[in-house]
């Protein structure tokens, strides 16, 4: 398993946001976790990235335990996140944001060809290279956040609610992109979404998170057919 999570507990003070979650991802999988507001999706992704502490449990990545490893070391070992609400570096230019994404890579990447590839995926970025990232629209910032994560050609991509703030056409585009990256380039992706329809459509497997616990899991197409899930998350 590329990523293995065992009995994960996350708490903010006295409030336990995630209580005993276990799941895993094989190399090359695209898996999504769906759940309502406040279910604990962002908490899980942040704990995987290492920017939120773990109260109890174990996280294994690429055969090593990383539960207590600082975030920057996890990033160095190939984990990247597209954070909730993008969190681009506002006063840095678009170009600088992309460069920061390529910071400290051990493996040599051809930065120029990587950038060119990203401009192909997100043409708007090339047009705005010299502009402070804060002046980009919300949707453009989401694209920049994705590009910032992709530039390093990560081993595992964590994606937190990319569909937020994107217009429907772009949502389709981004989900289509994630799907292609997964199928064509073998990128392992863990997707966290409220937009259950779109995320189940592209995922191989999925988990359903309810107030800090995983309540359903299985192949995404099966879950999409499950009447209980259809009622709560798919709205019919």
């Amino acid at each position: 398993m590329l990523l293995e999570v065992e009995d994960l507990h996350i708490a903010y003070g006295d409030i336990e946001a995630v209580s005993g979650v276990s799941f895993g991802l094989e190399q090359g999988e695209l898996v999504s976790i769906i759940g309502a507001n406040g279910a604990g999706k962002t908490s899980i992704l942040n704990a995987l990235m290492g920017v939120v502490g773990v109260k109890k449990g174990r996280i294994m990545f690429a055969g090593k335990e990383i539960t207590r490893l600082p975030a920057f070391r996890r990033a160095r070992s190939g984990m990247r996140i597209v954070p909730e609400r993008a969190r681009i570096f506002p006063r840095l230019t678009v170009h600088e944001n992309l460069l920061v994404g390529a910071y400290g890579l051990r493996k040599k990447i051809d930065l120029d060809s990587r950038l060119k590839w990203l401009y192909g995926l997100f043409p708007i970025l090339e047009k705005r290279l010299g502009q402070p990232a804060s002046t980009m629209s919300g949707g453009e910032q989401q694209q920049l956040a994705i590009a910032r994560a992709l530039i390093s050609s990560p081993g595992l991509l964590l994606v937190d609610e990319v569909s937020m703030g994107l217009m429907p056409k772009l949502v389709d585009g981004v989900f289509d992109l994630l799907y292609r990256l997964n199928r064509e380039e073998g990128l392992t992706i863990l997707l966290v979404e409220q937009n259950a329809v779109a995320s189940l459509e592209i995922s191989g497997r999925a988990y359903v998170l309810e107030t800090g616990s995983l309540v359903h899991q299985g192949p995404a197409d099966k879950l999409a057919q499950d009447p209980r899930i259809r009622e709560v998350y798919l709205g019919h």
Binding site: A71, A75, R80, I81, F89, P90, G104
Partner: protein, 294 residues
């Protein structure tokens, strides 16, 4: 140039060097510091002691002075790894008071009398004073500003900027917050130490109050006025705040009040400073001189 003008210009240039160091810490790496005068003082006291007690020349002592300042900067920078924002501000104020108290109450540092009899700097057998000393300071300022310019253009600088913008997001792309905060502290306090050494050999007499908390406020006011994170901000801020009280003599009495007022007004109305991208000064300049806003 008259002696009076040279004196003011020399102090302005020394301040600019010290504020460059503050700019690395606050402007580049985003770590608020209200105790920068402590490191200015550590540089000055190390230079003074090495010259008067150990008999070292300025040039022989300089590497030691810069090392001492940055090692102490590193040690005192450690708290910045644990605390943020307002707590960091208060911690750095505390550092300033402790360092000042050490200078004031420990006899080794000359106590209330300070340290006097600091020799002039010699260069090629020439004892530097007046204009030649000013030129030396200017040369060091050029050196420091070149270092800053280079820093903003290398990977380490970019890493610091990212850290300043969003620490968690920076860590999530592989930037070690610890490493780059400490790097900024070391570089910034080394520059303060250099400024301190020049100050000690210029004044030839130093005492603890030269490096008290109000001096930190003054240094920060200069930086904020010029524009945090901008290359030319330290010089611009040091020139304006150094020259104004000389032009409007009554200000001298109320210097600290004036500096504090500038600091608060800038933070309230022009947080990015005179050289900031959105600043009023830039907009006016852009109207008057085509392309002057750049």
């Amino acid at each position: 140039m008259s002696g009076y003008l040279i004196t003011i210009a020399t102090i302005i240039v020394i301040n600019a060097i010290v504020v460059c160091g503050l700019n690395v810490i606050v402007g580049y790496a985003g770590q608020i510091s209200l105790g920068h005068a402590a490191f200015f003082g550590i540089g000055a006291y190390s230079a003074a002691l090495l010259a008067t007690k150990a008999g070292l020349s300025f040039w022989a002592a300089l590497p030691l002075v810069v090392t001492i300042s940055s090692v102490v900067g590193l040690l005192l920078g450690l708290p910045s790894l644990r605390v943020k924002d307002d707590f960091l501000a208060i911690t750095t104020i505390g550092i300033n008071f402790i360092v000042e108290a050490v200078f004031l109450y420990i006899p080794f540092f000359g106590g209330a009398l300070g340290i006097g009899g600091i020799p002039r700097i010699c260069l090629f057998g020439l004892r530097l004073k007046g204009f030649s000393f000013f030129l030396l300071c200017l040369a060091f300022l050029v050196l420091v500003m070149t270092a800053c310019w280079w820093f903003t253009r290398c990977w380490a600088g970019l890493a610091c900027f990212a850290l300043r913008e969003d620490e968690e997001a920076a860590a999530s792309v592989g930037i070690s917050p610890v490493r780059f905060k400490l790097l900024a502290f070391v570089a910034g306090t080394a520059m303060a130490g250099l400024g301190g050494a020049l100050y000690a050999h210029y004044m030839r007499f130093i005492s603890a109050s030269d490096f008290s908390f109000p001096v930190s406020i003054t240094l920060l006011s200069m930086l904020v006025l010029g524009g945090m994170g901008k290359l030319w901000a330290p010089l611009l801020g040091a020139v304006i705040l150094g020259a104004l009280p000389e032009i409007f003599r009554p200000l001298v009495e109320y210097r600290i009040l004036f500096y504090t007022a500038i600091l608060l007004l800038m933070i309230r109305f022009q947080p990015s400073g005179l050289l900031g991208d959105e600043s009023l000064a830039r907009k006016v300049l852009a109207k008057v001189v085509p392309g002057g806003g750049r």
